[in-house]
Structures are given as C-alpha cells and as structure tokens.
C-alpha cells in the first residue's frame, strides 16, 4: 500500500525587520573616547581596568567612560538602560564602545 503524501508549510515566520548597516569604524583610537558597557557579569570589573591600561599604553590621548556611568545592561533595568543609551553616548561624546561580557 502506498503511503499518502503531504504538502506541508514552513513553521517559521517572515522577517519583520529591515537590514541595517553597522556604524562606521574608527580610523584610529588615538584621541578617541571609549565607553565601556557591562552586564555586571563574568568578571568585567576585573577585565575593563586591564583593557583601559592596555589601550592607554597603545594610543595617545585615548580616554574612557566607565561602565558605571551607563548602568547594568543585563539586569532588571536592562530595557531602560538600553533605551537611554543613545542619549547617554551622545551626551558624553563617546566615539566607540566595548560591551561585555557574554559568556
């Protein structure tokens, strides 16, 4: 006996968003202001100072805005912290950000 054949549809869903371009990269970190964003997990409190030390040694005039300025990007206030992030970065003239830690 031949088994019946079925035509089935895809269980996914179409994209509901537009593709976007990443922000332009910097030509150098010399003289730039780097903002640190942290989710308060996985030893960022130990690694961000190391990163600051390393970048300061390599690039002249580079400055930093600490993670505590922006708030916890993963805690109970995540939505609010991320919502105000564009304004926070703009008002502090941040040129680039380093976001951690995903583990």
């Amino acid at each position: 006996m031949t088994e019946p054949s079925y035509d089935v549809v895809w269980p996914g869903a179409p994209s509901g968003i537009e593709r976007r371009d990443l922000a332009p990269r910097l030509d150098t970190l010399d003289g730039k202001r780097i903002g640190f964003l942290w989710d308060y997990l996985f030893r960022g409190d130990e690694l961000f100072p190391v990163l600051e030390r390393e970048l300061a040694a390599r690039y002249e005039g580079v400055t930093f805005v600490g993670y505590e300025t922006f708030g916890n990007t993963h805690g109970g206030d995540e939505a609010a912290v991320i919502d105000r992030l564009p304004d926070s970065l703009r008002s502090r003239a941040v040129d680039a950000v380093v976001s951690g830690m995903g583990c």
Binding site: R19, R20, A23, P86, M101
Partner: protein
C-alpha cells in the same frame, strides 16, 4: 551585552562585544535579530570564570585586546566568529526564507516529513503532525482572524509573529483549534518586553511554565487535578509542546542560534489552576495578582529554573504545615537569589503550587493567600552567610562580593536583610511577602506541594487575557 552593542551601532557608535569562547554564535544571532549582520566580537580564551586571575589577564591581553582594537577600527584582524569561521549563528531557514507562508516547504510521507523537519531543526525530537496548508487553515476557521495579523516581533530573530505561524506550530504540536485563544495569549506574552523572551536561551536553562486560570479552562479540556504538572492530557501537553516549538521555529531557540542552555528542562505542560477549589475557599487565582478578575480567562507565564516536590505535608492547621512549605521554598532557592540582588533587584518570585487539600487547610483557619504569604515570608529564611556566598563567592553574580549589610545600607534590599551583622542570622529569600506566588492545583486530596525557583526578569510573570472564539 550584544543588545547593548546593537543599540550603540544603531546610534552610529561603533562597538565591539567581548564574548567567551563558543558564545559568539549567539551574539551574532542576537544582532541579526535586530537587522545587523557581522557584529564585531572579541572572543576570550575559554570561559573567564574558570580561570585564575593571572591566567585570565594574560589570556585577555594576549588574545582579546587586539580583537577589540580590530573590531573598533575595522582592521583586518576583526572577526565575528571563533577562528574566523562561519558563525554557528548562521542557522538559516534555507529555502524557507524565500517561501511564502502558504507555499509548500516539503512534500512526502509522514516519515519523510518528520525526517526533514528533524534535519532542519524544525521539530523538538518528537514526531509532528504534518502542517499541511489545509490543516492550518482549518485551525483558524471561524475565528475571523487575518492569518497574517502580527502579534509582535520576535526580539531574538526579528521574525514577525503571525497568527499563521502560531497555528502552523499548533498543528505540529497536536493542539486542537479550541486552544487557539490560549496560544495567542502565550504569543502575546512572548512579544511583551516585560516578559523578556529574549532571555529564554540563557545558560542556566530556565524554562517557561504557563498557568491557566478562568471559567473556560475545564471546558477546553485542561486538567487541573491528578498529575497537574505531568504530560498525559492533550490540552495541557500539546499547548506546552507548542511553546517549545514556537520558541524554536520563530524565536530561534536552537543550539544553532539562540539557545545557550547548559542543560535545560523538558517542556512544561500547562499548569491549570483548580478553579472550583479556589472558588470554594474564596481564594483568588494567580491571574488576580496581575489585574484580572476571577471570571476572566487568563494565561500567566514565567520562567522557572528548578522545581521540587514538598511531599507528604503533615498537619491540620496552617501553623503546622507552613514551616515545611517554607522549607521547600528555601531549599529550591540557590543561585536564583541573584535575581533578588545582583542580576536583578528584588525580582525573585518563587512559585508555590498547593494541592487543594493544603489550600483548604489554610482557608479553613481563615487564612487568605496574603496571610499564607506573610507566614512563608517569616519562615522561608536562610543564613545570611549562605545568601552572601550564593550571590558572591560561589557565583560572582553580584560583583565585588557585597555583604548584605552594605546592600541594605545602599537601599537595595529591605531592612530585614540586615537586622544584625551576625552571619548566622536568618534572612528572607524574597524582598516582601507579596513576592511569593501561590497556585492551587493537583490531586484534591493529597497533601503535597510543588515549589519552583524563578528566573527573575529573564522570564518575568506576564499575563494575557484568553480569547474564547466561541469555544469555552
């Protein structure tokens, strides 16, 4: 972490995200869900939590700092996947991305379709009911709904949560059309930012529990009695299965995309409260905590980490049984305290499911749910030193290993957590009595309870009304 980077990129500020090894795929997939391809990453060697401070620092300096610079400047060393290989976040729907919702994706026998769905990651490992266009259309017949109506955007994938996609996965799971109202409520919860569906693949692996309340539940075939949390009844089981399938197929919670659960749980069947018992003792259902009335049909959902039985509670008064129930709640609560302080701020809300006879024991003494919660708050306590180790030394979930006395002094927890500085003092496991959520279900005459630990803001209690569509 990746969501913050995405917000920066959207604001025109270049970013690089630091991720531990094998977390890169999820970060890339997260960015793709917001429309960004190729989010720059800097990958650490191994997992930082498993390294000594000196090893971690040298690994970071030797292997990660250059990638951070490259990510910000676009230098050639920039990469977005370990070893520069294609990201595991590239699970694509293949030919499906070019398909319309009504197009045939696969043709074949039941076995062939199941094989194809398993191969593509579209099923949960169990056989599915083939979602033919005819079956999906019949699922929606008489509802008056536009199949392409959007219920929201899946925050992980950017996919449009259409009614059609809900129904397709419902057919696959074996749901009945009369369950559509419950499914749509669940989809709306997933779309609600308060719930936080984007966290559903976090490494600790909590899974969602749907709690159904209202007068229609029994008529829709949901079981609230014997085996209330076990598979075996089609309504509870198939709707629970639907949630897993929908999270896979629309939210991308597979190992290839957004699921980083270390262990996870099997999907949870719907917990239907015993409406008759609640009405008999005059207690409100869980849904009342979220603004609904006793006669509303409501689905409430949250994510829970662990569950445990509190077996054979002995006693004829609430005073006799409360210490044991509280002990169960304290036992089930461990690293989850990070949602009380650390990961979250006073977000921890464990769930206690009472069998009806235990609820009646409390009600017979004139206790309301609020009275029970007050008593649980007094009894469900742990030594302060243990609390501090759970959020600090043992997990590092609260950076800097804070003392509870300092946390209270900073205004981040109530004074009960710092009644003294004795490390052996007993402190609560929630910030206030109302944080305990209490449900009533299960065998009416068995003296058992079930406790769940909660994943805080990473799947927070969210409720939605259930439409009846002429069924209940």
């Amino acid at each position: 972490m990746a969501r913050a980077a995405v917000a920066s990129e959207a604001a025109g500020v270049p970013s690089v995200s630091i991720v531990c090894e094998s977390f890169d795929g999820q970060a890339i997939a997260t960015a793709r869900g917001f429309g960004f391809e190729g989010l720059p990453l800097a990958v650490t060697v191994g997992h930082v939590d498993a390294q000594s401070a000196s090893d971690m620092e040298s690994n970071f300096v030797d292997h990660t700092v250059d990638a951070i610079v490259a990510g910000l400047t676009g230098a050639s060393a920039a990469r977005n996947g370990t070893n520069g290989t294609a990201s595991p976040g590239d699970r694509d729907m293949g030919e499906s991305t070019a398909l319309g919702p009504y197009d045939t994706a696969i043709s074949g026998s039941v076995d062939e379709i199941n094989d194809a769905f398993a191969e593509r990651g579209w099923s949960d490992g169990l056989p599915i009911v083939p979602p033919t266009r005819d079956r999906v259309e019949r699922f929606l017949t008489g509802t008056g709904l536009d199949p392409q109506q959007s219920l929201g955007i899946a925050r992980t994938t950017g996919r449009d949560m259409t009614v059609w996609s809900v129904a397709t996965n419902a057919v696959m799971a074996g749901c009945e059309p009369r369950h559509l109202g419950v499914l749509l409520a669940a989809a709306r919860i997933l779309a609600d930012p308060h719930y936080g569906a984007e966290h559903s693949g976090n490494t600790t692996g909590a899974d969602a529990l749907m709690i159904l309340d209202g007068p229609s539940a029994a008529g829709l075939g949901f079981n609230s009695g014997v085996g209330a949390l076990r598979d075996g009844v089609r309504a509870n089981t198939s709707v629970g299965r639907w949630l897993r399938l929908y999270q896979r197929n629309v939210f991308g919670f597979t190992a290839a995309e957004h699921d980083k659960s270390t262990f996870g749980n099997s999907f949870r069947v719907v917990l239907c409260e015993d409406a008759a018992a609640l009405a008999d003792i005059g207690w409100d259902p869980v849904s009342a905590e979220f603004g609904f009335g006793r006669n509303d049909d409501v689905l409430t959902m949250a994510r829970f980490n662990s569950g445990a039985i509190v077996g054979s509670a002995f006693g004829s008064t609430p005073h006799e049984i409360v210490p044991y129930l509280a002990d169960g709640l304290a036992r089930i609560t461990g690293w989850d305290l990070g949602h009380l302080y650390g990961l979250g701020r006073m977000h921890y809300r464990p769930l206690l499911v009472l069998s009806p006879i235990l609820a009646r024991t409390c009600a017979a003494a004139g206790w309301t749910k609020a009275n029970l919660a007050e008593a649980l708050f007094e009894h469900a306590r742990i030594p302060a030193w243990r609390f501090e180790k759970l959020i600090g030394e043992w997990t590092n979930l609260a950076a800097g290993r804070p003392r509870l006395t300092d946390v209270v002094a900073a205004g981040d927890l109530p004074s009960q957590f710092a009644a003294s500085d004795d490390p052996d003092r007993l402190v609560p496991i929630v910030s206030e009595p109302a944080k305990f959520v209490i449900a009533v279900a299960g065998d009416a005459n068995r003296t058992n309870a079930y406790v769940f630990s909660h994943d805080g803001p990473h799947g927070d209690y969210t409720a939605q009304a259930v439409e009846r569509f002429g069924y209940g």
